[in-house]
Each structure stands twice: as C-alpha cells, then as structure tokens.
Amino acid sequence: MDFNLTPEQEAFRAEVRAWLSTNLPPDWASRPTTDIPRVEMYDLGRIWQRKLYEAGLLGITWPKEYGGCGLTWMEELIFHEELVLHKAPPPLNILGLGMAGPTIIAYGTEEQKRRYVQKILTGEEIWCQGYSEPNAGSDLASLQTRAVRDGDHYVVNGQKVWTSLAHIADWMMLLARTDPRAPKHKGITYFLLDMHSPGVTVRPLRQLTGDAEFNEVFLENVRIPASSILGELNQGWQVGITTLMYERLALGFGLQTRFQIALEATLGLAKRMRRNGGTAAQDPVMRQKLAQLVIDNAVFKYTGARAITRLLKGEMPGPEASAGKIWWCDRHQALQDVAQEVLGPYAQVGKGSPWAVDQGIWQYSFLRSRANSIEGGTTEIQRNIVGERVLGLPKD
C-alpha cells in the first residue's frame, strides 16, 4: 500500500497543473461553481474540450493510434484531481468521452475506430445515448425500437427518451431490436446512428430544473448502413453493458471530481452564510453535516483508488467499484440538501434577483441532483446488480 506517485507521475501532475493554470477560461474563476455543464455553458464546453485535446489531456487511457495518450488510469486520476483543484469546467462531449469512445475502442472495427474516436476527443462530433424508451427504462432489455434489414441498410422505427444532449448531438449510441423472436436480451443490436439522418426528430423535454438538457428522439424509417453496427448483429446487449461498465469506471473519476467541486463550494458557502448570529459553519449541527460530507468525499476517493489499483494490476473491478454509483447518488443528493439548509430562506431566491446567492446556481444544482438516482440506471436497479452479481443473491 503506497499513495506516493512515481517521479514520472509527479512530472505529469506538474505538467497538467502548469497547463491548467495558464489556460483556464479567463472569467471562469469568478463564475459560481457548478458540477455539470449547463445549457448556457455548451459553447464554452466545446471550446474548452478542444483546448484540452490539443494539450494532449483527453483520452488519457485511450490508444495513441486513435488520438489518445496511451497512459494508465493513474494519469487519468491525476488529471481529474487537477481539474478539481483548478475548478475547471467540464468538457462538452461527456457521453462521447465516457461511453462511446471506450466502447468503440473495445468493440469497433479498425475502420470504425479510425472514423469515430478522434472526433470524440476533439469534440467535433458530440454523442448521445439512445438506450431508454418510454416503455423501457430500468427494464432496458424490453426496448421496442425496431431495426429491419433492407439491402445494405437497416430501417429503424421507434422512440427514445431522456436522451441527454440529443439536441446538439451528431451521433447516437443506439440500441434497437433486430430479432423480435429471440429472448429479449438476445435480439438487440448496437448501432452508431448519424443524428443528421432523415427521419430523426429531436424534441426537447423541459426538466424540473427548467432547463431542457434532455430530449425525446423519434426515429421514423431512419436508414442506417449495416456497416454502422458496433460488435455483432444481435449482440448489442453485451456491447451496451460494456458501455455501462465504462460509464461506471470512467465516470467514477468524474463523479468524484464533481462531488469534490460541489463539496468545496458548499464548505465555502457555509463560511459565508449567516446562521443564529454566526456563520453556518460555526453552527454545531451544521458542522456535523458538513463534516459528514467531507468524510463521504474521502470515502468516495479511496474506494475509487482501490478500484484503480485493481485495474492497474490488470484485475477486474471488485465489489468496491459497484458500490460507487449507489453511494454517490445518495451522498450527492445529501450534499445538495445540506447546501439548501445552509442557504436557509435564501435558497428560495433565484436567478435575476440581487438577493440570489451565487446567481441562484444552488437551486439548479439541488433540483438537478434528483436525477442522479435515476439516470444511468436507477439506484434500485444498481442495488439489484450489486445484490445479484456481487453478492450472488437469487434473481426475483
């Protein structure tokens, strides 16, 4: 057990640090902190991603021949730690970086890898994820979108929903049913869908935050070349599961980063907001809650460190990796609850009022956090996965 870095890793950290301190967007530091890209930050997120790519800081664990850096998870971790320390904005192509890229690298043909991976890194092509449907959420394998072979193409009909970034996306990771007679997990194929194809209609859905960051996507006689299948025909479930595994792994770093950014903002808030004649941070009960969040953050970090250690040794992620998402949702929602409590009545005053704290950003973060335990697999489904696959409990 050793938390010290090698001289090479220290050098990498110094390099990242130096780059970030000179390249952060100039007005960034003065903005209220948020942990995820909001609609009005899309343009900035795109420019920022390009800069990160050009500096050689994206796709850290991805192979060099496809534009990645060919480094280890350790450098990935260091990079994320530095992003936190510099309160850096998130890159825009979050699903491309977290899910599409790693899955294409794992399952793609040489041609597919050359075609897609680099443009994911540069942010030239933004990706969205076409998994959920109106009648297939937690029970994803019951999805009904159909893809029927027609010559060199497949013709797709169906509807996807809760599709984040679809309104700006160029490509979609699409799961569609290609064999309706097969058992539900075995008749699904994974397609790479050009969102600019005729027959694709994106309709924004307004969320309870007021923002429209996710969408409904209607697919009417959309023609996809057969060469756009990722992996094998009818093997899409396996490919999709891999995507989710990468999501948990790669976003694991991102999640901890987000938690820590939100935590530091909350601690700062507690030192500013008044409560009973002192600051909220001086109130004994608030101190308990804030300290618990500090502990939660450390727990998250070191549970992640155990998972990385396994990866670095070439082992499969252990039970500690499964714990991450469940824990994160629970604690991030708790964090936002505490921030609201720190704000007291000011929590009610939103953007546009001179009385709004940090331009009302806390309202958004608080409301947005309710999605945490739903998106990417509900907490209930995550618990089933842990119960069945990690603990070996019988299926219902």
Binding site: V294, Y302, A305, L312, S322, E380, G387, V390, L393
Partner: protein, 382 residues
C-alpha cells in the same frame, strides 16, 4: 500509487483466518465471555508463537518489525472472529504507548515481555467525565521529594484494566496553559501490584471485551515510572490514540464483513413465500447497502492505516474520518444483519449479537462518530 495488499499481506490474512477459525470459533468466544480475563494462557501463548503480540514492535525489542498495514490485516481477521482477550489493550494501547514514549530502558524492560506473552499491559486514560481529550485527564500526580510521584484518582472504561500486569496511567501534572490545552499531561508506568492500585471488572454489554474501573489511592511511583516527557505526555499519547483508533476501525471492518457474509448466506437459503428471501428486493437492497457500507469502511480505514503508518500530516484527519464512518457503518450493518435473520437473529444462540454488541462497544471507544465529525470540522478549519 498502490492501494492494495501485497502478496505477503494476503498470505498473512489467510494464515490469520485459518488460525482463528480453528482456535477461536464462537464456542471459544462464548467461553471467554464468561471468563473474567477474557483469554486463557494456552491461547495467549499461541498468539505469541505466531508473532502477533510483537507484530509491529522493532526486532530489537523482540518484535517482528512489521508495519501498521500488516497489523491492519491481522486485526480485520480478529474482528471477523470477535476475538476476545486483552490483545488490543496490550498491543495497541499499553504496548504502543511504551514503544512510542518509552526510554531505552523502559522499552527493553517491557516490549520483549509483551511479545513473548509474559506481560499484559493497558492504558488507563478515560475518567468519569468520559472525555477522550487532554482536558479529560484529571487524575492527579503530585511530585515527591525523591523525584517520584503520588497518583490519586479513578480511571474508568479501562480496557482489560483488571487483568493487566502493567498500567500506563495518564495523569495530570500541571494545568493546561492558555497557549496549549494539551499541556500538563504525563504518563506513568504503574505495575498492577503496586500498593494502592485497585481494579474492578465492569459488567459490559460487549462481554468479549472487558472494561475495568481502576482506582489509585495514593499510589507512589519512583522517577523511573515516568513514561515520556513530563507535562508533554499528550504528544506521544495522541499518536498512540490515533493508531489505536485506526486499528479498531480495522477490527470493525472485519466484523462488519462477517455480518454481511452471514446475512448474504442466510438470504440465499432461508425460504419464505416459496422463494429464498434474498430474491426479494426488500432483502436484496438491504444486502447491497450493507456491501456499500462495508466496502466504504474498508477504503477509508486502509487509507487511515497507510496515513498513520507513514506519519503523513493528514494522519489525524484520516483517523477521524475513518472512525466517524466506520462507527456508523458497523452499528448499522450489525443491526441490519439481525433484521435480515428475523427471530433467529435475536436469539442468544445465534452469533449475531456478539457482532452487534462489539459494534456498539467499538463505536463509543476513542470517540463516536459525532465526536470525530467535529474533529474533522476542526482539522479542516471549518
């Protein structure tokens, strides 16, 4: 960075587990619950033979010279077995105080005896006020003309205080100063047979871990009894307490893991309404939450173990983060374990109550989650 155990440590864990499964089954634990000393000489001798009694002491003092992370591995297994007896008090409290603050003469006199199993030592720290900080130490030590001291007062909740050969007594030799609230604490080595020392076993909820009341009535000790610097004893003591706290967390992790294992196994075989109960989400989800708590508890404990072993600046913070998290986690996991077992989990016959009670006893030892959260707040300058 390597946040895993080495092959040697994995081997140490296997050895510890099979030794304890054989030598410390719950029948033994239950027998020792009835025994005032909590152990028998035969078992103690085996611990000495394995090198566990001197595991972290330097070889020059008869120890094995392993690191704190190695000890963590063994402690997890001891927690898994709810191992009874004065191991913790001897090796992690009394012995560590000697190793940390002792002079060459004191270390040579006691550490080899601890390692061979000849001497059992504990730390008499807490008093009626039940405080874990320097200000809680009020037992008086008055200087004598020949450079010795006279100690008077009562220590409470002293682990195995009734069965120790030697007590490390934290006493007040001066008032705290305005600049330093920790000033004025001194440590003394007091052999249990010294005139004026009286010990009484307290009836405790967790019978696998004995606590005692130790009364010192005008106990006279010579200058050689002073352990570490006069009036500045809190400095070494704080290091001992941090280490003992992390060690306890490791034990707790082992116990919590065992409760999870027992509960998962039970959920697979116990049938209700025609299905194993583990198939029901109400049960499955509780098991999943227990796993999250256990894995998290291990993560923060291993980190704290590394931090105290390396002596890094954030060691006290890591310690408090670990104790706060693990205290809540073990209590919750042990309680959930009983719930998942239903009526059988509430019986004396089933072993779950051993873990539930150990969880509670460990939770309050060295400060509970509330105390450590406040310490975290202070350490991050909140």
């Amino acid at each position: 960075m390597d946040f895993g155990f080495s092959q040697e440590q994995d081997l140490l864990r296997q050895t510890a587990r099979s030794f304890l499964e054989k030598e410390c089954p719950s029948t033994f634990v239950r027998r020792m619950m009835e025994d005032p000393s909590g152990t028998i000489d035969e078992f103690w001798a085996k611990l000495a033979e394995l090198g566990w009694l001197g595991l972290i002491y330097p070889e020059a003092y008869g120890g094995v010279g392993l690191g704190f992370v190695d000890l963590t591995v063994v402690l997890e297994e001891m927690g898994r077995a709810v191992m009874p007896g004065p191991y913790f008090s001897t090796v992690l409290l009394g012995g560590l105080a000697l190793a940390e603050a002792g002079s060459e003469v004191q270390k040579q006199a006691w550490l080899p005896k601890i390692a061979t199993g000849e001497a059992r030592v504990t730390l008499a720290l807490t008093e009626e006020s039940a405080r874990w900080d320097a200000e809680g130490i009020q037992l008086g030590a008055k200087p004598t003309k020949d450079g010795g001291h006279v100690l008077s007062g009562t220590k409470l909740f002293v682990p195995d205080g009734h069965a120790a050969d030697l007590l490390v007594v934290a006493a007040r030799t001066a008032k705290p100063t305005k600049q330093d609230a920790h000033h004025g604490v001194s440590l003394f080595l007091v052999p249990a047979e010294t005139k004026g020392v009286k010990t009484a076993l307290l009836p405790t909820m967790d019978q696998t871990r004995k606590l005692a009341e130790v009364t010192l009535s005008r106990v006279e000790v010579g200058p050689e009894a002073l352990l570490g610097p006069a009036d500045e004893g809190w400095t070494p003591l704080a290091r001992v307490l941090d280490r003992a706290t992390v060690a306890l967390c490791a034990e707790m992790c082992g116990g919590a893991q065992k409760v999870l294992d027992m509960s998962t196994e039970y959920a697979k075989v116990r049938v209700a309404f025609g299905k194993p109960i583990g198939a029901y989400q109400a049960v499955k989800h509780k098991c999943a939450d227990m796993l999250v708590a256990v894995e998290n508890a291990k993560s923060i404990t291993y980190y704290a173990a590394w931090a105290v072993d390396e002596g890094v600046a954030e060691a006290p913070l890591a310690t408090s983060m670990a104790k706060a998290y693990v205290s809540d986690a073990y209590r919750k996991v042990a309680g959930d374990g009983i719930q998942l077992h239903g009526g059988i989990g509430f019986t004396w016959e089933h072993d779950l109550h051993l873990y539930f009670k150990r969880a509670k006893g460990s939770e309050v030892a060295f400060g509970d989650a509330t105390l450590h959260r406040e310490r975290v707040a202070q350490l991050i300058n909140l």
